[in-house]
């Protein structure tokens, strides 16, 4: 044989041998294929029209779709009844898993139980409820309240009036109730600091603005305000600005970490933010979904809580990449 023919023959033999050697039995792709094919997962947030839900839909959706799972969203538009209908519909369709953001502690508890009895995994996101389902992914709101209290105490300083205002969400939502409990617990460790007023915003920024206006009027020497959601903090910050007290009242809030939150920090409207880090929260949810679908565990047989690690972000901590952006997500989709 000529030299080049020998080289060809050797190459052919080697590759055949190589392919036989590579042909090991990897159970991974087959399991994924079998478990994810024709499975549907539905996200039911409180409403699709807010940054948190759009973030979850983007990150969880991308991850699950790449894995071959059907991913759908439903939009109750802030009405728990519509959300209940969406969940019932999902149960009737016998989907594989539902990801739900509970509007309050009680409304969906019976539905979660029904879903689990039908073999559907129930993952609760962001707001806990009285029913512990297969998993909860979100913040430990008590910790968030404590962090917010620490930030506002540090922002006020020891020489201030030590009066703190709290703009709560509503009376039924777990995130609002738990944040308040955490805040109170932390304030006990700092003698002298007290909450002088705690009105409700009902998660609406115009209401937040009006109640903050009144709060500042009734307590003109308040040194710091904690608002339980960064979207309503837009109104609270506007009221502080109206009263001419930007920089004199330390505003702390919590949000999903979207670009609007970083803008608020940069513009001085907000002084400190506890970010609930939607991209990583979403990663936790999609990982859980992929685990449940392959594990073969019975829905309702286990309970897990995956708490998002939280920290306080101030203006000087904002770097490129601190916040995620809805605009960029939409552009890349």
């Amino acid at each position: 044989m000529k030299k080049w023919q020998k080289a060809w023959a050797l190459g052919l033999v080697l590759s055949l041998w190589g392919s036989v050697a590579m042909g090991r039995d990897d159970p991974g792709p087959a399991s994924v294929d079998k478990s994810f094919k024709d499975k549907t997962v539905i996200l039911v947030p409180m409403a699709m029209g807010m940054d948190l839900s759009q973030g979850w839909a983007h990150y969880i959706g991308k991850s699950l779709k790449e894995a071959g799972v059907n991913f759908e969203t439903r939009d109750p538009n802030w009405k728990p009844d519509a959300g209940a209908e969406a969940i019932t519909d999902a149960i009737n369709r016998k989907v594989a898993a539902i990801i739900v953001q509970s509007p309050d502690l009680q409304s969906y508890s019976k539905l979660y139980k029904r879903a689990q009895q039908a073999g559907i995994y129930v993952i609760q996101v962001d707001n806990p409820s009285n029913y512990a389902s297969d998993a909860f992914v979100g913040s430990n709101w008590n910790t968030v309240g404590q962090l917010e209290a620490q930030a506002v105490v540090a922002g006020c300083g020891a020489n201030s009036s030590r009066k703190i205002g709290v703009i709560q969400g509503d009376q039924v939502n777990a995130s609002s109730l738990d944040q308040y409990a955490g805040l109170e617990a932390e304030l006990k460790k700092h003698p002298g600091f007290e909450v002088v007023a705690a009105p409700y915003s009902n998660w609406d920024e115009t209401t937040a603005r009006n109640v903050t206006n009144t709060l500042i009027q009734q307590h003109p020497d308040v040194c710091g305000i904690v608002d339980f959601w960064s979207t309503t903090a837009q109104g609270t910050g506007a009221a502080i600005r109206d009263a001419g007290k930007t920089g004199k009242i330390y505003l702390v809030s919590t949000g999903g970490g979207e670009q609007a939150d970083c803008d608020r920090l940069n513009s001085g409207l907000l002084d400190a933010l506890v970010s609930t880090d939607v991209p990583n929260q979403s990663r936790d949810v999609s990982t859980l979904v992929k685990y449940f679908l392959q594990s073969g565990t019975q829905a309702g047989s286990s309970k897990s809580w995956l708490y998002t690690p939280e920290s306080i972000t101030k203006r000087q901590d904002v770097k490129p990449g601190t916040c995620w952006s809805l605009k960029e997500n939409a552009a890349s989709a």
Binding site: G49, D51, Q54, A197, E205, T214, Q217, Q218, A238, R241
Partner: protein, 327 residues
């Protein structure tokens, strides 16, 4: 200044004005921190939005119509405007597109009511919901739209003051004065009263009834857009969920309490200002007393009921309104 004359000309407005003065005195005496420049400015500021919308609603109600779509138009037009700014559309082009659309929506309302003769209540209710649906599904993607950073100049308007008075309040007074002037000094303004009193008679007299009604709703939609811009200057954003709030009922409350009867043909911008002041006083007093939101709604609703009953007693239904109905 014959008080008797003034009373007779505008009974309800007079009662409301006296009531406002009494409340003001009571609050100044008994509520701490009420009679301070800060609080009074806050009081008026919290109702400027209500007042601007009530000017538009008042004009429409005088013509015996009602515009239930103003909140929807206000929120959606502003949201679309901000959305376009966020997508880097130049300011003047975005403004032109939105103004044109608002005029078209007002024209559609007017045409449905004047030419298709659909009762104003149903037509504007339907268009309001339609605009919300179209806007929310096609034009914007989120409930809350923020003012983009490069247009912060709009935001600085929200902090502008002329002397101690914020720009918003001056704007409210200017719009109310302009509307009062239009209604009083222009021929067509006076025609609106005639249309509100008896449509058929006005038509028989040769008044261009249908174009005038269409014009009313166009102006109403434009004022709604201006009100939306007022929100943007202060909150630097617009939350379209304002459509689900009780703002519309508050606007009707101001109009009815101020003395513009729902049966039309009666009232003027003074009534709107009286109504705005009274409601503003009540809301301000209630918040100083730290009464919760829920009770505030209860008290506002009671005032509306009392105002409606008072309106029915002071301005009894004449036979033609009886036959044609109020709205």
């Amino acid at each position: 200044m014959n008080l008797g004359n003034i009373y007779r000309r505008d009974r309800q407005g007079f009662i409301v004005l006296i009531l406002s003065i009494v409340l003001f005195c009571l609050f100044s005496l008994f509520l701490p921190a009420f009679f301070s420049a800060d609080n009074l400015v806050n009081l008026v500021r919290s109702v400027t939005l209500l007042g601007i919308l009530a000017v538009a609603m008042g004009m429409v109600v005088i013509g015996r119509g009602i515009d239930l779509s103003i909140i929807s138009v206000m929120a959606m037009s502003t949201a679309w405007f901000l959305n376009m700014l966020n997508q880097q559309t130049p300011l003047y082009i975005a403004l032109a597109i939105v103004l044109l659309s608002v005029i078209i929506i007002g024209a559609i309302n007017g045409i449905l009511i004047a030419y298709a003769e659909i009762p104003a209540l149903f037509a504007t209710l339907a268009t309001g919901i339609f605009i919300y649906g179209v806007g929310r599904s096609q034009l914007i993607s989120q409930d809350v739209i923020y003012l983009p950073n490069q247009h912060q100049s709009l935001a600085t308007l929200g902090e502008a003051h002329i002397g101690p008075i914020p720009l918003e309040i001056i704007l409210f007074i200017a719009i109310a004065a302009l509307m009062a002037f239009l209604l009083r000094a222009f021929k067509y303004g006076r025609f609106i009263y005639l249309i509100g009193d008896n449509l058929q008679a006005a038509r028989n007299t040769g008044i261009p009834v249908r174009p005038l009604i269409t014009l009313q709703y166009i102006i109403s939609a434009l004022v709604a857009f201006i009100a939306g811009l007022v929100i943007v200057t202060s909150l630097h954003s617009i939350n379209t969920r304002i459509i689900n709030s009780s703002l519309l009922y508050d606007v009707i409350l101001v109009v009815v309490v101020g003395g513009i009867g729902l049966s039309g043909g009666r009232g003027n911008m003074r009534n709107v200002i009286y109504g705005t002041l009274l409601i503003g006083l009540i809301i301000n007093g209630l918040t100083i007393l730290d009464i919760s939101d829920l009770y505030q709604n209860l008290i506002k609703a009671s005032f509306l009921l009392i105002a409606l009953i008072l309106d029915g007693v002071i301005n009894p239904r004449d036979e033609q309104t009886d036959q044609q109905g109020d709205i």
